[in-house]
Symmetry: D2
Amino acid sequence: MAGNTFGNLFKLTTFGESHGAAIGGVLDGCPPGIVLDLEAIQKELNRRKPGQSAIVTQRKEPDTVEFFSGIFEGMTTGTPIGFAIYNTNQKSGDYSHIKDSYRPSHADYVYDKKYGFRDYRGGGRSSARETASRVVAGAIAKQFLSTIQINAFVSQVGNLKLDKDYQNLDFSLIESNPVRCPDPEMAAKMEDYIKDIRKEGDTIGGVITCVIQNVPIGLGEPVFDKLHAELGKAMLSINAVKGFEFGSGFEGVKMKGSEHNDQYNEDGSTKTNHSGGIQGGISNGMDIYFNVAFKPVATVIQPYDTIDKKGNKVTTKGKGRHDPCVVPRAVPIVEAMAALVLAEYTLLARTIKL
Amino acid sequence: MAGNTFGNLFKLTTFGESHGAAIGGVLDGCPPGIVLDLEAIQKELNRRKPGQSAIVTQRKEPDTVEFFSGIFEGMTTGTPIGFAIYNTNQKSGDYSHIKDSYRPSHADYVYDKKYGFRDYRGGGRSSARETASRVVAGAIAKQFLSTIQINAFVSQVGNLKLDKDYQNLDFSLIESNPVRCPDPEMAAKMEDYIKDIRKEGDTIGGVITCVIQNVPIGLGEPVFDKLHAELGKAMLSINAVKGFEFGSGFEGVKMKGSEHNDQYNEDGSTKTNHSGGIQGGISNGMDIYFNVAFKPVATVIQPYDTIDKKGNKVTTKGKGRHDPCVVPRAVPIVEAMAALVLAEYTLLARTIKL
Amino acid sequence: MAGNTFGNLFKLTTFGESHGAAIGGVLDGCPPGIVLDLEAIQKELNRRKPGQSAIVTQRKEPDTVEFFSGIFEGMTTGTPIGFAIYNTNQKSGDYSHIKDSYRPSHADYVYDKKYGFRDYRGGGRSSARETASRVVAGAIAKQFLSTIQINAFVSQVGNLKLDKDYQNLDFSLIESNPVRCPDPEMAAKMEDYIKDIRKEGDTIGGVITCVIQNVPIGLGEPVFDKLHAELGKAMLSINAVKGFEFGSGFEGVKMKGSEHNDQYNEDGSTKTNHSGGIQGGISNGMDIYFNVAFKPVATVIQPYDTIDKKGNKVTTKGKGRHDPCVVPRAVPIVEAMAALVLAEYTLLARTIKL
Amino acid sequence: MAGNTFGNLFKLTTFGESHGAAIGGVLDGCPPGIVLDLEAIQKELNRRKPGQSAIVTQRKEPDTVEFFSGIFEGMTTGTPIGFAIYNTNQKSGDYSHIKDSYRPSHADYVYDKKYGFRDYRGGGRSSARETASRVVAGAIAKQFLSTIQINAFVSQVGNLKLDKDYQNLDFSLIESNPVRCPDPEMAAKMEDYIKDIRKEGDTIGGVITCVIQNVPIGLGEPVFDKLHAELGKAMLSINAVKGFEFGSGFEGVKMKGSEHNDQYNEDGSTKTNHSGGIQGGISNGMDIYFNVAFKPVATVIQPYDTIDKKGNKVTTKGKGRHDPCVVPRAVPIVEAMAALVLAEYTLLARTIKL
């Protein structure tokens, strides 16, 4: 399968290289009659946009989405929604130094080996710029879901880890700081740390936590298409992601069954929620929550050794305008992918209505 | 999408409830002309089988696979391979106590809510018994892949964590003990611990590590179908899994880019392998390795409170013959799912041959 | 895509060669709570069964379907329905004469070329025996659809063509004769003709007409998955089919738009129905009707020249017990495939409910 | 499944309404390294373009395709090819008369019923304008296939039917006349006839024959995805198509098996080709040929009765600039869809290479 499509019923196909004419996509299967708030879509894009604060890349890209189809008189028509974001600020010259050599821990090498050659301008298709298209489609998915709340935030940067449960956080504070951490004290620490990292010309990893609330019971399919399996795939498909855990996650392996089991209240809710809102792959109405691990950005502004196409050693240095830490800008991407998964399963759940 | 199919080109569809007539599946898309070692397939099934040691469930199920089609004169024909494993040892009586009440942290409740009713005998379709069909198909995938080595093993049980790198382990020892941990000393500790847990009528979680070696460069698809995203989905679709990480994983978030980046050798291999053998979703020829977190089995042989269908409180007690720790038997399942993913991407890679 | 799956939401995967252990399939996605009449399923199979009359093949196959899963206490559970029909009457010896040579207008040659070898017993996977699995799944689809009526019948055998409109036929007479033509006079002529053809050791083609009534408005998807496009694919996937037309079909090309256009009544129905119940790929509530052309069966009981694997000329003669005309037994297959298509689109239509 | 995607490995997704900002698509899965002749793509579009001759609609649309991605330094990169054709000549005013009433034999009524409302400007998504995107993708598919020749031509208009076998036609004459019939004498008759029909304000149907030559043996998949089944679906998905037949087609039903069977030559080719180049769903190396029936265009420039949204009778008259006969402009569309099908199966065939 050509791998640029996500979903089957609520289906997004994206296209575009970071330095081509445009990126964009087609969202097919969005039900008709959804009144779309186009400003809200652009606002999501702005959350992902470069240059929005001092701790992200200073590239200037307007990232304005243009819709071609599927919307008429302010509503979705049920037909495919085509859209594009034109690339207006490519500085292809910035990438000439990587034309013939491979940046460590980038996709340059494998693209060359797999496809025989590559569009070497800024990562081409492997650039995280592609995720802007996901944010557009995810913003539409959010509006379709309407009653389900999806909130993602930064919960770790390097060793700085927020150790509060999400129940003790105020999600309205997520956008109050450039890190997108809802704990102001921790956010300030993280911000300072990222600034230090940037000064070193280095980068650092982080974790995004996502909480989905007000989920109806019954989303998710046995056996292979469990809700958390698809969420996991969605998150792992985001650039730089190295891990996914939901509910009790990796910590849960240390627990005994008698501790881990979530006891029922009489209304079917549970006293604890180690399950993370999903049982047997199907939502049980409790909050869904999960963590997504991002590695440090590979582009460092330091000299490094690498090889060129012929296998000769070369020494070079990262250039360009990159992020010292990817997680602040990745928050809306995590939310977008979660929304796409939930929209898909919402449509699927309708097919077996009793 | 009905959720009982995995893969598109190397495609497995499974069927069957734990206490129905049979479980089984159809493997479609396996190329023709593969000489099949049927004993090797049965051997994989035996690794997953109940009753194989003192630390797993003592249910006795022969779990013999019967093939219906797709194999002729010892070779795959390119047509679908249909197979079944008959259920011969169901004790449905064991489950009468759960007919009308919901076991905590099981799928009982969500199946009832989603489908309106359920096959309440032993978990029905949500039973891990379904994974036997995956092991059959995965064993065929392994034979198709032939040159790629896939080794999974138990690396953690509760707090007992193997802290050796996989490079310092001897995979030939995996099957030398019932825990399937290749470090004999740690294996003995884990075995004792699981026995203690069983005596308490309790259960414990664990981690399986999987290492895939001799992978050709170029498996995996951008953008949504990254190799690790599909591996993640495959693992998260296994019963009781709560997390997946590959390469540097969750630990990698604490690293700086300058440390994390894998520098190239002149032959294109890398000096370190924080990437876990995958760049931009595509295999780079280095070892692929990942961890899979399993929660403690939900069925404990202790009294517990729960609710019945009408929302009334009831007190009951787990019965039946269950596993105190699922990871030893899950090792072949992890390998099977990894093999299915690699087989799919091997076929996909052929479509763009240069 | 491995080609043994039909449908996405109401999804049938079949397996099995004509002379292996069994044929069968997995039907995934059937909604839960459908009370199944298992006898009605077997009855559909019996309509397709060999040996049912003097004008069909005299092979004796009981063709009894065995269900493995997905049905509990008489109802569908929403989980995959696995089933098999064991092959009990294979006379593999009958086919030894074709092991090394290619029967004209059979799939022997292309299977050998495509797959490198083939299961030469009775056509293997290319045998029309596979369609028994479709009839099982189609019979379940019919029960799911319930209010939609699907009636297929033989409308042409060789040059004998029924020239009545379907509105002037009594569908209750379809099963009153072995030809399955609802016009008794024409049926008698066709029966005599087929008997003559059989005496010659020859075969003859025919046409099946299918009428679908009481279809809700709105089934079908633009653009590529138009309802009639999927019906066409479904019919063309049946062995020996060479053509498909719906509504005015090939005759419609001779008409002018002013004649062909279906004028509306005030209730949205149309005065004529050249459209065949489908506009723009979507059902409009009028009857859907279409014709399916079947070529003469390739196996003739006459001497013929052909080539062997090495390209040497050989003369041989058809043996075995074959049908002189395939259309009487193909009637339930056409209905089954129509039911599968309608079930798929019924589920799809639910996803955009307003 | 959202229905705007065709193919799985060589996958086209289209978007766009006739009177929105743009139509276009994403072609995913095209192998890397194909040197693209962009002029040849535009030339195919020009064959489909309105206003090219006196017998087609006189709308003026430049129909210039703009590529966004997937092409770098003149070659396909293996990444998705995004493209758009901007709508520059919409006269939305022309359609105000159909805003509230339903044109007979158009999709207006079913779109309103299915989606709750519709983009009423010129047919919206159901407009044949969508097929321009198919022609773009098909032109790329043709270049990918390179050695396979695909030639379609008009073989019937109304009662005027070309009765020569395709072997006796010179395909180089197809583009020599506006009808796209390779027999100059018949082409002249057809042209005159279409002009007469236009004068009446009426329309007429027709048949396109397509011949595919130099096809490798082995394209096509059993069982449901037979090559001719997918070709049939592809053709039936084109606007106004009512029928599809390949090889002997509907005429073949009158033949006896002894006549119809194609006898082998020693090289594996056949003396006759009633099979139409496909056996058991798989290409056998002989020419593939098929006929596609198109109904008369529904828009006639004559007064007609219809109903409005409330079910009231209204009398109106067709306006706009429409085609009196659709087949001349549909020739490149038929070729494009054939090319997409063959590209898909070419990639699929690679997955089982021996």
